[in-house]
Symmetry: C2
Subunit: 646 residues, 2 copies
C-alpha cells in the first residue's frame, strides 16, 4: 500500500495538515482503502472531498509505532463551501454578522483575494470534523473487511468506526506558530490586562473562549466584594449591622452580575457569529444503540431505543443510585463530625501546639475525601448516563450535568449547612468554610493542571529522545508533533471547569454574611486559575475541536439557582445571629416573620430584576432585527423575481 | 363621481364584499379617488391590487347617511398570493403544517380546483387587512387634497389616514350564513358538549378561539375543585386538617393545570398553523408620532421618538399616577371598613332582619365601587400609555397590561388581604370573598354583554325601520347589513375577558383554604360566561379582525405569578389558623419555621414541575422537528441544484 508519504517528504506535504486520524494498528487494509477513498471522493458521489495522507513513522528500536496515522487537510475552496454548510456567520461589508454563503463570499469584510486567512484554524478544523462526521454510508452493508461492523444507508461512517474501535481517535493539530504567540499574550507574562479572548476564540473556538470570558468576568465581578471583605477583616467589623449589609449587597450583586453576564455573553456571541447561528440537526451520539427502525423526523433508517426503557433505567437505577450516593456522603459527613469532636477533646485535654494543628486535620482530611468522592462519583455518573442510552449528545449532557451537580452540591455544602443550621456554630462554620475552600482549590489546581503536565513532560522527553535516536539530526517536525500530540491527554470539555466555578460561587454566596473573606480567596484562586487553565489548554491537552456556543447554557441556570438558594441561606443566617435575636428579646416569632418577609421581598426583587434587564443589549438587538428584516425582504424580492420569470 | 354601485345593483356586486372602509363624510373627492386608485393599483406599481366598490345609501328623510362607505374584496388568486405574504401555515399532503406557498398550492391538503374554500373567511379578511396596512406611500408628499396630512416614502397610507381621522374605521363584515350556524352550535342550544373551537377559529381567528379554549379549559379544570368544595359545604368539614389538604391540593392543581394548558395551547396553535408561523415585522402603531428620522433596522424614513423622553414620561408621570391610584384604592378600602363597622354596630344595637341585610350592604357597595374604579382607571391607563408614545403596538399593550394588572390586583384583593392578615378574621374573610365574587360577576356580565346588547337592539330596530320606510319592500340585505354593522360597538380585544378570568383565578386560589366554595361560584360564573361571551361576539359587537396567536401570551405569566402568590397566602393562612396554632402550644416560632419550610418546598416543587413538564407534547415536537429538518434539506438541495446549474 503506497498511500502515504515517505519519511523524507512528510514535511513537504502537498497541503496543510489540519486534523489527525488514528486507526487501530491492526485495521484491515481493505477497510483503510475504502475509508480513505470515501474521504477523498467527490461530494456529488457522497464523499467528503477532503485531502488525506498517511504518515509513515520510522521503525523505532523494538517499539513499533502505529502505521495507521493519517493527516487530513482540504483545499481552500472546499473549506469555504463547508463554511456555508455548517452555517458560519461572518461580518458582512455593512458591519452586520450574516450567514456566510460561497456565492457572496466577496462581499464579506475580511475576504481578500482567494479567501486565504478568511477562516480561522479552528473554523477549518471544525468544518473538516463536520464533513467527516456527516460522511454517510451509501449502499455498503458493512465496513469492507469487517462483516460484523454493519452499515445502513445514511449511517455516519466515522461514528460507526469510532463505536467499533476501528477509528481510535481524531483530533485537530496544534498550530505551533499561533500557539506560541497566543500563550505569550495569554499567560506567559504577568500582566494586568484582559485575556486575549478573540485570539482564544480564534484558536480554540467559541465554547472555550466563552468559558474564559466567564471566568474573567466572574473574577472581576468578585473584586468589589473582595475589597469589602478585606476591610471587614482589617477593621474587625464584627458588627451585626455590617454583616447584614454585606449579605444584602452580596445578594443584589449576585443577581445583577448574573443578569449582566447574559448581556456580555450575547455581545461576545454576536461578535463571534454564534448568536444567530442555527443549530445543526443533531446526529445520534456515537455510543447510542438500539434496534434498527425509522426516525420519525428524518424518515431515515436508524437505531431506535424505546423511551419507556430509558425512563425505567433512569427511575429504577440511576435515581436510587444517586440517592444512595447522597446517603453515603451524609454518612461521611457524620464521620467527619465525630473526628472533629475527637480532635477537639484531645486539644482540650492537652492544649499544646501539635494538638492545635490537629484541630485542622479533620477538615483537611474531609476536604480531600470530598474531592475523591466527587471524582469517583463523576466516573459512576458518566457510566450510568451512558448506560441510560440517550440518543442525543445534548440530552446525555443534561442528564450528566444534573446528576453531577446535585451530588457535588450536597457533597461540598452538606457539612456547612449542618454546621450552620443544626449546630448553629458560626465560628466553626467560618473555619470549615475556609479550610474546605482552600484545600479543595489547591487540590483542584494540582490535579487538573500540574500533575498532568508533569506526566506529559516525562512522556514528551521520552518521545523526543526516541525520535532523535532513530533519525539522527534530520528535522522532522510534523512527524514528531503528531507523535507527541497523539499521546497527549484529551480535554474533556468545559464541564469540570464550570463545575469548579459553580462550587466557588456557592462558597462565596451561600454563607457570605458569616465569612466575607471568602470572596478574597476566590479572587486569588481565580487569578491563578486563569493561568493554570490557559497553561493546560496550550501545553497539557490535545487541541480540542472548536464548539460553537452562544451562551454558557445550563450553567447560567445553575448559577441562578445557586443565587436563589443563597438568598434563603443568608436570610436564615441573619435570623440565627444572636445580635438580631437581641433586637427582639420578647417575640422570637415576630423576628422570624420579619426575616421571612424580607426574604420574600428580596426574592421578588430578584425575579423582577431578571425580568426588567433585557438579556441582549440594545445595539445587538437592533443588529439582529436588521438581519431578520433583511432576510424577510430578500425572500420577498426573490418571490417577485420568480413571479416575473414565470 | 361614479365609482360606486347604484342602489339597485348593490346586491349583485361583482365580488364578495369582505371588509368595510368608512371614510369621513367630508373627505375631499381627490383624496378618495387617490386612495381607491392606490387600493386598486397593481402590486408591481406599489398598489394593493384589491377590489373596492362604493356603497350608495338612499337619502333617508333628513338623516343623511355617510356617502363614503366602501366594501373591499379580492380575487381568489390575489388572496392566495396574500396568504403566502402573511405567512399562513396550512396542512400539507403529508399531514404536517407547512408555510403556504402559491407555487406549491396544489400540494396542500384541502386545496381543490382553483382553491375555493381553501382560505377561511377570517383568513381572507386578515389578508386584506394586511395588504391595506402595508399599502405604502410612494412619492406623494401629502394626501391629495390635504396638504397638511404629510406622507413620506414607505409610510403606511391607512395608518396615516386613520391617525388624521380621514379613515373613520375599517372592519370585516359578518358572514350571516356562517354566523347562524356557528351561533347555533355554540350557544343557542344548552348542551354538555365542548365549544366548536375550530369553527370559532374559522370565523373569528386564532386569538379569540384561544381565549374561548382557555375559558373552557379553566372551567373544566375547576370542576374537581368545585366538587370537593361542595362536599366541604355539605358535610360541614370545618376541620383544620381538611382545609390544609384542600389548600395543598389547590396549589398542586394550579401548577399542574397551568403547565398542562401550555401543552393544550401549543397543540391547538399547531393545528391552527400559528405555532411555527413567524411574526411579521411590526409597523409603528397608528398613534405614534415623532420627528422624522431613520429607523436603524429598516433604514426607512420614519418618525423617531427618543427613548429617554419616553422613560421620563413613564417614571415621572405614569408611575406616580399609578401609586396615587393605589393610595386612593387603599383609602376607599378603609372607608369600606368604617362602613362595615358602622353596619355591625347598628345590627348589634338592634338585631332584626332589616339590619341583618344591612350587614351585606357595605360589601355590595364596595364591590360596585371597585368595579367603577377599575373602569375609570382603565381609561386613565389607556390615556397615559398612549401618551407615553410607544412605537410598537406590542410594547403599548405590555405597558397597558402591567398598569391595569397591578391596579386591579390591589383594588380587588387589598381588602381581602387586610381582613386576612391584619384583622385575622376568617369568618369576615369568607363573607367578603363571597360577596365580592358574586357582586362583581353579576355586574360584569351585565356590563359586558346584556347592557350593550340592549342598546344595540334599540339601535337595530331604528335602523331597520328607517330602511324599510325608505325602500319599501326592496330586498337590500347588503346595504342594511353594512349600515347595521357600521353602528355596532367595536370589540376591543380579549384583554378584559382575560383580566376577568385572572381575577377569578385570584378569588379561587389566593384564599382557597378558607373558602373552598369559591371554585363552585367560579364554575357557575364561567358556564354563563361562555354563553354571554359567545353571544356578545356574535350579536353585540362588530366582527373583529382575526389575530394570529400561538399562545395566551402575557396572561400565562400573569396566571403563573398569581399561583406563586397563592402559595404564599395559603401557607400564611394555614399558619394563622387557630387549629394549627393549637398543635404547637409552646413554641409559636417553631410553627412558623415549619410553615415557612413547607412553603419553600412547595415553591421549589412548583419550579421543578414547571421545568420537568415539557411545554410542547412529544408528537407536536416531532412534527416541528420534521418541518425544521425538511427546510434544512430543501435549502441544501437548492444549493446543490444551483451549483450544478452554474
Amino acid at each position: 500500500m503506497q498511500l502515504g508519504l515517505s519519511v523524507s517528504d512528510s514535511d513537504v506535504s502537498s497541503f496543510t495538515p489540519l486534523v489527525v486520524l488514528e486507526l487501530a494498528d491492526d485495521t484491515k487494509a481493505e477497510a483503510i482503502t475504502w475509508f480513505l477513498s470515501r474521504i477523498r471522493d467527490k461530494q456529488h458521489n457522497g464523499g467528503a472531498e477532503l485531502l488525506v495522507d498517511q504518515l509513515l513513522f520510522p521503525a523505532q528500536d523494538g517499539q513499533k509505532s502505529n502505521p495507521n496515522v493519517f493527516v487530513v487537510g482540504s483545499t481552500l475552496q472546499r473549506l469555504l463551501k463547508g463554511a456555508e454548510d455548517v452555517g458560519l456567520f461572518k461580518e458582512f461589508q455593512d458591519g452586520i454578522m450574516r450567514g456566510f454563503t460561497y456565492a457572496n463570499r466577496e462581499s464579506f469584510k475580511d475576504f481578500y483575494g482567494d479567501g486565504e486567512g478568511f477562516l480561522s484554524d479552528a473554523e477549518c478544523q471544525y468544518i473538516i470534523k463536520h464533513e467527516l462526521d456527516t460522511l454517510r454510508a451509501k449502499n455498503e452493508e458493512h465496513v469492507p473487511g469487517y462483516p460484523k461492523v454493519k452499515l445502513y444507508p445514511g449511517k455516519s461512517v466515522v461514528r460507526r468506526l469510532q463505536s467499533k474501535g476501528i477509528l481510535v481517535q481524531y483530533f485537530p493539530l496544534h498550530n505551533k506558530e499561533y500557539l506560541k504567540r497566543l500563550s505569550f499574550s495569554w499567560y506567559k507574562k504577568i500582566k494586568l490586562s484582559f485575556q486575549p479572548l478573540d485570539d482564544i476564540r480564534h484558536y480554540f473556538g467559541e465554547g472555550l473562549a466563552l468559558y474564559f470570558g466567564f471566568l474573567e468576568y466572574f473574577t472581576f465581578a468578585l473584586v468589589p466584594m473582595a475589597l469589602i471583605g478585606i476591610s471587614y477583616y482589617l477593621f474587625d467589623w464584627e458588627d451585626y449591622d455590617k454583616y447584614v449589609l454585606f449579605a444584602v449587597l452580596n445578594l443584589v450583586w449576585s443577581t445583577v452580575f448574573l443578569e449582566l453576564w447574559k448581556r456580555c455573553s450575547s455581545t461576545l456571541a454576536y461578535e463571534w457569529g454564534t448568536l444567530s447561528r442555527k443549530k445543526a440537526f443533531e446526529e445520534p451520539r456515537a455510543g447510542f444503540h438500539g434496534v434498527l427502525g425509522f426516525n420519525p423526523v428524518t424518515g431515515r433508517e436508524e437505531p431506535v431505543y424505546p423511551s419507556l426503557k430509558r425512563q425505567l433505567r433512569i427511575y429504577l437505577v440511576s435515581v436510587p443510585f444517586v440517592l444512595l450516593c447522597l446517603y453515603l456522603s451524609f454518612y461521611v459527613m457524620m464521620v467527619y463530625f465525630d473526628m472533629e469532636n475527637w480532635a477537639i477533646s484531645i486539644y482540650n485535654e492537652n492544649p499544646n501546639f501539635a494538638n492545635g494543628i490537629l484541630l485542622f486535620v479533620p477538615s483537611i482530611i474531609y476536604a480531600v475525601v470530598i474531592e475523591i468522592m466527587n471524582l469517583l462519583y463523576r466516573y459512576a455518573a458518566e457510566f450510568l448516563t451512558n448506560w441510560e442510552n440517550h440518543r442525543l449528545e445534548s440530552s446525555f449532557q443534561n442528564h450528566l450535568v444534573l446528576k453531577v451537580l446535585v451530588f457535588n452540591f450536597v457533597n461540598c455544602f452538606a457539612s456547612l449547612f449542618y454546621i450552620a443550621f443544626v449546630m448553629q456554630d458560626m465560628v466553626l462554620l467560618r473555619q470549615s468554610l475556609a479550610t474546605l475552600l482552600i484545600t479543595s482549590q489547591i487540590l483542584n489546581q494540582v490535579m487538573e493542571a500540574f500533575l498532568p503536565y508533569w506526566l506529559q513532560r516525562r512522556r514528551n522527553k521520552k518521545v523526543h529522545k526516541r525520535m532523535r535516536r532513530v533519525m539522527g539530526d534530520k528535522e522532522l517536525p510534523l512527524l514528531e508533533q503528531v507523535q507527541l500530540e497523539t499521546e497527549m491527554n484529551t480535554y474533556l470539555g468545559t464541564f469540570d471547569d464550570y463545575l469548579e466555578q459553580f462550587l466557588l460561587f456557592g462558597y462565596v454566596s451561600l454563607f457570605s454574611c458569616v465569612y466575607p473573606l471568602a470572596a478574597v480567596l476566590v479572587v486569588l484562586n481565580n487569578i491563578t486559575e486563569v493561568y493554570s487553565d490557559a497553561f493546560k489548554m496550550c501545553r497539557v491537552f490535545k487541541r480540542p475541536f472548536s464548539e460553537p456556543a452562544a451562551n454558557i447554557g445550563v450553567w447560567q441556570l445553575a448559577f441562578e439557582t445557586m443565587s436563589i438558594i443563597a438568598v434563603v441561606t443568608n436570610c436564615a443566617l441573619i435570623g440565627l445571629s444572636s445580635q438580631v435575636k437581641a433586637h427582639f428579646p420578647e417575640s422570637e416569632s415576630q423576628m422570624i416573620l420579619i426575616v421571612v418577609a424580607i426574604e420574600h421581598v428580596i426574592l421578588a426583587f430578584k425575579f423582577i430584576l431578571a425580568f426588567v434587564i433585557p438579556d441582549v443589549p440594545k445595539d445587538i438587538e437592533v443588529k439582529l432585527a436588521k438581519l431578520e428584516f433583511d432576510s424577510l425582504g430578500a425572500l420577498k424580492k426573490k418571490k417577485i423575481l420568480e413571479a416575473v420569470e414565470t
